[in-house]
Structures are given as C-alpha cells and as structure tokens.
Symmetry: D2
Subunit: 311 residues, 4 copies
C-alpha cells in the first residue's frame, strides 16, 4: 500500500509503549499512515483491539473448557464464519480516520452499527477540496441497469462534464466563503459585514466536497460493510475505500480475512429453486431457462456463476 | 396544524378498515396529511403502533399481576419517565414520511436507532427544490458561541447572501440535468450524448437540495431525538421539524407527552457542585461565582435557570 | 393453528375500531389469541405495523418515481430479499406476548435488535409453571455433534430423568415460597417471619421455570431470528416457537414469507471452493472428497445438499 | 483492589509488546487480573482501546482545526459530558471477562449495546459454583418499596433461608450430573446409560449458578450501565460489579471518570415543577408539600436532595 503526504498534525503516532494487550505487528506498521483513496481521500488506522486469537478466545468461552483441543484456530474461525456465529468477531474493534466526499459519506453512514465523529461544519470551515472523477471513471448511465454505470464518456461530452463539475464546486466554495465573509483561513473578506452563520453557509456547498470522520466498528460489522461495499455492484467511489480496507483486514486478522474470502466474498447463494436446478443438472437432466422455474435474470446469473455462459 | 398541498400519489390514505389494534383517533385524523415545515419540507404520519395504554401494558408485564391496582396510568407513566425506565416506551412505534434539505438529513441520520428508507439518487432524479432561508432566519455567525447564530443579516449583505444561495443551487441543478443529459422529467437534452451516470451527476448538487425518506422510530428514541433537536441550542432548521413532531407526540400519546414536558424538556440537571450551591443558597449562604466552585459559564447558566440573573 | 385456554385478563382484544393504517385481515383474526407452544408456553400477536405493501412502498421511496411500473410487487419483494436490501423490511413491526422457559429466554434475548419488557421477579412472584419435556423430546447427548441431540431416552433412564426434572423444580418453587414466607397467591406462610426479598428468593428457581415478556421486532430482524432459530440445528425448544412464528409470518406478509422460504430458509450457500466443485462436477470431472479441496465435513454436507449421498 | 486466585489458563497475559496505540499504564497494571466480586465472581480487564486523549481527539475532529487551543482537555471532557455529546466517548472500548450468577446475568444482558460471548451450556458443563448471599445481605422484602430490600434477616429465619439456598442448588447440580450421566469432570456415572443432552439437563440448574462471559462495551455505554447499576436503587448483587467497574473507570480514563461523577452520578435532575419550587424557595416563599405541585413522593425526594429533611 502506498501512503500519501496528507497527515493531520494532531494525532500523530505516539512513541512506542509496552502493552500486555493483543498486538498485531503487521497492523502496527500501518498505524496513523494515510492510505490514499480517490483524488484527495484517505483511510488511516488510528487504533485497533484484538486479533485472530481474540476471536478464538471469544468462541472458546462459549464452548467452554471441553473444546480446547477440538480444532486448530484456523478451522475454528472457518467454522464460525461458515455457520454465521458472529459474536466472536464482534470482540475485535478497529478505529479509522477517513477523508471522503460527502455523497459517499451519505452511503457509508447507512451502516448504523458503528461509532462516528464527523467534522462539524457548524463549528469549523470545511477544506477547499472536491472529488473530481478521473477521466476513466466518468461513466455514462447504464442502459439496462437502473443503478449502474455504462461506458466511459469521451470527447466533447467528457470535457463538458469535467468543466461543469470543476467549475460548480469551486464557485460554490468561493460563495461559501463570501457568505461567511471569511476565507478558508479565517481572514475577513469585507469589513463591516457580519457574515452568515457557518451552519447556514455550508448549505451552499456541493456534494463532492470532502469531509472527514473517525469511524469505529467491530470486526463483524466491518466485514458486513465490506461484503456489501466491495461488491462489484457497489458504486465505484465507495468500493475504492472498501478495497483499501480489505487490505487492512488481511494484515490485521489474516485467518479471519481468509475465511471471509472463502465463505462470504467468494461464496454464491443458491436459492431453493436454483439448488433444485443444480441437482437436476448433476442428474443429467437438460434444464433450460424455461423449465428451470427461475426468472430470466436469475437463470442468467446462475449460468454465469456455474460458468455455463452458453446456456 | 396546517397542511400543505404537497402530497405523494403513491401512498394516499386507504379506505378505513376495522382493526382490533390500539387506535388513536386524534392521530388517525392526521394520517397521510403533509404537515408543512420550512419552505418546501413536510412531515407525514404514515403509520403508528401503540398508545399510552400500550406503555402501561408494557410496564405492567414487568411488574406482574401484583401491581394492577397500584397506580393510575398517568402516575405510572410519570414514574417511568422520571426513573428512566425506557423499555415500556420502546413498545410504541411511529412511521413518518419526511421531506427535508440534505444538510439537515445529515444531522438527523446521526440518530442511529431508527429505520430509514431514503430516495436514492442512484435510481432516480431528485426534485428541483431547495431550501432558501426566510429573511428573518438569515442569521449571522454568533460572536461568542462557536456553533450559534447571532443577529439577523440586513440590507445589502442580506440581499447578496440570498442572491448567492438562490443562484448557486439553481445553476448546480441545471448542470445536474446537463450532466445526465436529461431534464428533471426525463427528456433528452441533446441527441447523441450518453449522459453521466446518475450516481455521479448527483455530486454536483448543493446541500440545500431537498431529499425525502421514510423514518420509523420507537417512542423512546423519538423522545430522545426531540429532547436534543427541539432544544434551543439545536440548529433552527432541524428544530422546525422537531417542533412539528412534538405536536404529533401530544396527539398520539398525551400522557407520555405531558411527562416528557415535565421530566425532560422542562427539567434542569444540577451537577454535583450546582446541587451543593443550591443547598448553600437555601441555607442562607451568600454564594458568588468565585466561591461556587463552578466555572463562569456554569455559574451563569445556573443563575439563569434559578431566575437570579443579577448574580 | 390451535389456541390454548390460557389468556391474560389485562390485555384482551378491544372492540374493533376504524383505522386508516395498513391492515391485514388474516393477522387481525389472530390478534390476542394465545398460540400454544411446548407444555405451558404461548405466543400472542398483540399489535403489528405494516404489510407487504409497506415493504414495497419503502423500497419505492428509495427508487423514486421512475420505478413505479418496473415490476410487480411480488418480483420487487423477491429482488429485495435476494439482494439483501434489508431496509424496506425494517419498516414493518410486530409486537408479541410470549411465555417461555427461562433457559430458552436466555437464548432468545441474544437477538439484541428488538424491544423487550419481561415480567420482573423483583416486583412480582413468578407462576408455578415449569417446562418438562414430552417423552419423545427426552433426547440423549449426541455422540458426534457437540451441541446436538441423539436418540430418545427410554426405559428406566427416561423415568429417572423425568422424576428428577419434575421433583427439583417443584421443590425449588416450594422453597421459593418459603424463602419469601408468601405463597404464590400472596398469603403469609408463617406469622412472625419477614420473608426474604423477592429479588433474592428468585435465585432458588430452576431454569425451566416459565417467564413472560412482550417482544417487539421489525420484520427484517424477525426473519433473521427465524432463519437461525427455525434451523434444524437450533435447540428443539426454541425451534418450537420459531415454527409458530413462521406461520404468523405467512399470514401477516405472504409475499415476503414466500421470498423468505425461497432465498433464505430453502437456500444453500456455496463457499468459493464448493462453487468450484460444482463447476467441475458439471464439466464432467470426477471430483472426490480428497480432490475437492473441502474438509471432510464440508464435502459430506455439500454432497447431501446436492443429493449425491453415495459420494 | 484485591485480586483472587481464580484465573483461566487459556487467556493469561502475554509478554509485553511494543505498540503505537494509546496506552494507559494504570490499566495495563490490571490486565488479566481477576478482581473479586461476591463469593465466586470476578471481573477481569482483557483489552481496551483509547484513553482520555482519544475522547478529546474524537471531539476535535468534530470541531475541526479552529478549536485546537480553545480549551484544556479536562474542560472539553466536562463540556462533552455536561451537554450529553456522547459520540466522542463511544470511540473508547473495553473488553471484560466476567463471572456472575445467572440471575444477575439476566439483568446485565438487558443492556443491548454491547458485545457478549457467554459460556454455552449446550457445548460444555457449567462449574459447580453458586452464589449464596453473605449473612448481612440476606435482606427481607421492603414493606414500602415494591422492588426494594428491608432489614437483614436474623435468627432462625436467616438460618432456614441459608439452608434452603445451599441445599437446593447443590441437589440440583448433583441431579444435573446424573441427568447427563457425567460428572462435572466428564466421568461416566453409570455404565449403560446414555445421558440426557446437555442442552436439556441445564434446565435443572438454579438461577444462582455462576456463568461467565466476555463483555465488550464502549465508554459511553459503560457509563450508562454504571449510572443505572451503581445506583442505590439497583439490586445489591449487580451493584457490586458496577462498583468494581467504577474503580476500573477511574484508572482507565481519570478525566472522564471525574466528569462522570460530577455530571452523572452526583447530579440531580429537577423536573419542571421541582425547578419552580426551588425558584420559589430561593425567592423566600414558604413552599409546602401541598402547595408545591409535586406528588408526596417527589416532594420527599426533593427535600432530601436539598438537605431539608424537616420539611
């Protein structure tokens, strides 16, 4: 992982201290370093609690002394993930500092089982930073998927789009300063004016303005977030954060991350009808979309998952 | 309460049906009617579960058969509110349809113990509606309170502020349409262009654009929301919603609402030191800010609460 | 469904009232009626909010006006269930009165996203009612499954087991009364004694004593509870409640219940490796337990799911 | 704090490791040591995340760069506590191993915003340990407070109570072993018997049997738990745990703990009517119970809080 220059003065890494707590050297090496995402965003790991062994320990208090020798840690973690025994994963926790565009923050905050402290534009002035998509992410509306993206825009249309995006957020920010009668750095713009309250002036900003927050979540809920947001159907901009966090996951809890890949990200859920189709196919029956009992879309998705695209 | 003309076609009030459930005629009279808030917002009660009697019933399952005659319902509800026995209030639930500016939605969503379905700008095009403060809400930044508002802006400054607010959201919206190459109503703007994906185009909108959601919350968490958001320190724009909801509360659960006013909204919490100050004052001691043990701000607030502004 | 004679005097069905809210006649017919479970337990539906149409309505506020004609309600609900869009299901709510043995209540309460008001043994005296398994549920410890049940006990062992279970809870209850110096009905047992505080005396009761609570939960979390607790691996005693609640689900929200059966209860999750095995089998490869990459247990479970028990 | 001999072999303190995370030496000194509670219970701190500085850091991301010099950390923490800005306190987390009687575990678990892994009596055999109150905690039922305790039992009644409590849990445990046909240590009791499933046999245990769990909670929710459970109205047995945890709180986050004492534990909430009474008293009016507008109970409590017991 690459790290950006961007860093906050107020929460730099303290000197190393001895601790009796569970410690993960691979994650320690990442502490406080901004991992860049999009054009101005980042993720920084500020703190963490627990490791793979803490998951095992949590499971073993449930199973009691009788199970000490039953299984290796790796197998136990796989078992927990597979059977959705989620509570041992809730015993680990991670705290991140994230910088992200407001319209992505609005998606992210829908995950309610987490703790958040966001910079408040009632108290302070937001930074003059905006998300502008890179040219290869300027995607058209998908024609056949109501929420998806199609081909990348090109030529004059791409240029016009970039012009509008770049101009509007900058103008809105300049007016944000003029509304408050203060520059980003706090200087008065015009003597004799009072300046609109910050809590009102912010309404003039565009949704691609960057915000920041501390976000703390337990390992189970982090994986739930990642399963949804690292999915190919998720919006590219939040997926970019999820992918960085999946790297963090592998460093922090490698056994849990491996089980997550096997039983969650790489898994495929067969509906009752799709399970029947697979049984019929294995029994040698020539099942078609029409005789499958599935909708066309479900049939197509099942054939893709089974790598029978011709069907 | 006044109702606005604004109404959604798709969830009009159904014909009346008989039900064996707890029913509150005063709230039935309000069902589905938009209660106007701010310039384009509203709150509509879509559904509810329970009433004051359901709170009592929940408390009595806890107390068991022995307490049936102990107290009147009103006294029991007051007792529960006073001693923060919150679980009986969680047995009631209300579902609202709310239209509100995005920057207020971002405050509101911080209350996590609720259920939300918001209009998605990935799937559909947001309406061309923006919050513009009324002239008497165009407040200056407070000089002595970092998050508060001061005097109302006047003259040229007020005019400039309104001009900027009105122009920027409208320009951003026109460009939002041009980015998508579709008008608000779905008409193609320029043949031969693909249109940027909706999920990207939305980032050009300003934070005073209106959004909508269904919001469902239990009675305890509704009161917690109202205690914070109907407070004089809350931002005016969210307080406007909270005040409408307090009216709804009084119609829905009048005994609970009365207890809420007595023990929550109208209550005053004395810190350990402030309690000692009150005792000393009552004992005839001439306590001053300096001898109180309180900070200057706490002293001032206590004297205001005790209606001794001269101190 | 059968209903038991057991009924609480204090929350009988009120007279029918007209309401503008969503109403489900099939569930109205069940309101307040105790549905028997185990030997002395029951489930009663006390109140509910929403129906299948409320799920659709919640989804459509997310999708906005553009999607009104896209799909039938049934297909939309199936789509939501399949893609784990859980928030529209959270807009419905149900409130139950449940009577259940304490050791089952301890499993049940682990589902935290719900509201609970339980009878308090600090305030009142618990009923003299205990769960004693029916003879065909007196199962031995499973030899090969650490948490499971084996064959049903028979003969002298079964008789001894029943004797101990029946005697101990009754003796504990008699001593509970003597500790408090009060009978179940409140009569003083021995003049001149004070009686131990109820909050202490209860510690002498056994875990098969029945307790009662109001339990309120949203439709999404109800289905999550049912997916785990109606599973064949769940303990029989809690499964008995889950099965009654699945009947309630089908009456309340038939479309949602059908989607739940198709995509949740009847579904089968293939891990990444299991998906690869299915692809290889379909391509005609002779995969064995050894070449599958699966553990023995996973291989056995997969072959069972695919109805290839011989493998 | 004293530590008991009781310790679990499987999660002993690891060797000290260097960490870049926030570290609290006073809490490190306590890690993994069982702090005794009641006759066989304990609390052990297993892990923690954050410190007072982490609370400040969380608050400052909300306030932004402008507030760096505004206030000392102590004053900021006091401000947050006083104005119920709870989210910065949610950024700290603590993980405990607790051994406690089942009837207390049932009170404790009502605090839902926490993570729990409890020993499962489906998988393993519970220990032969029971809570028996010390003689000075054998309290009678309070005559005037439905949930409270009165005087301590004495003489023959106390002796009888202790006899019943001690005999019943022991007999129930012996039968628990005979039901399973296994001793606590796993030895077969009678050849040729199968033994009842553990998940059923446990129902014969009494509610004073000890259980164990890992309990993880954020600092805000820990203080909410402590405010309710260290209160004089809480049952003595859970208060005993809360009091040990308040000591832990002072070691872990001393500034936060001081603010908790000042604004939460030592605070007194005046209802709207009680606030009016205080104003009238300060203005020299001779208010009585009758003219106060308060109920008798509220009047008495207010006079006690104001140290005017004679009124």
């Amino acid at each position: 992982m690459q790290t950006s220059r961007d860093a906050s003065a107020e929460d730099e890494a303290p000197a190393l201290q001895p601790t009796g707590r569970a410690t993960v050297p691979a994650l320690e090496a990442l502490l406080y370093r901004p991992l860049p995402v999009l054009d101005h965003g980042f993720v920084r790991v500020i703190d963490y609690m627990g490791d793979d062994a803490a998951v095992v320990q949590g499971a073993r208090v449930s199973y009691g002394r009788g199970t000490k020798t039953v299984s290796q840690d790796r197998a136990l973690i796989a078992y927990l993930m597979r059977h959705r025994h989620t509570s041992p994963f809730e015993l680990c926790e991670i705290k991140l500092h994230v910088k992200l565009p407001i319209f992505i923050a609005r998606q992210w905050i829908r995950h309610r089982t987490a703790n958040v402290n966001e910079i408040s534009a009632r108290y302070s002035v937001l930074d003059r930073e905006f998300y502008i998509p890179a040219p290869d992410h300027l995607a058209a509306q998908s024609a056949d998927n109501r929420q998806g993206r199609g081909a990348v825009l090109e030529g004059a249309e791409a240029a016009d789009v970039l012009d509008m995006l770049q101009a509007d957020c900058r103008r809105a920010y300049r007016h944000y300063e003029r509304l408050m009668n203060r520059t980003e750095d706090g200087a008065v713009i015009e003597e004799g004016r009072q300046g609109l309250a910050r809590e009102l002036a912010r309404m003039n900003l565009t949704l691609n303005t960057y915000t920041q927050w501390y976000w703390k979540v337990d390992l189970h809920n982090l994986m739930h977030f990642l399963a949804l947001r690292a999915d190919p159907h998720a919006q590219y901009e939040i997926r970019a954060y999820a992918e960085v966090l999946i790297d963090v996951l592998h460093r922090w809890v490698p056994m849990t991350a491996a089980a997550f890949e096997e039983y969650r990200r790489g898994a495929y859920a067969l509906s009752a009808t799709a399970l029947a189709v697979v049984r019929r196919l294995l029994a040698g029956e020539a099942v078609t979309a029409e005789t499958s009992g599935l909708s066309k879309r479900e049939w197509r998705e099942l054939m893709t998952a089974l790598e029978r695209p011709g069907e």
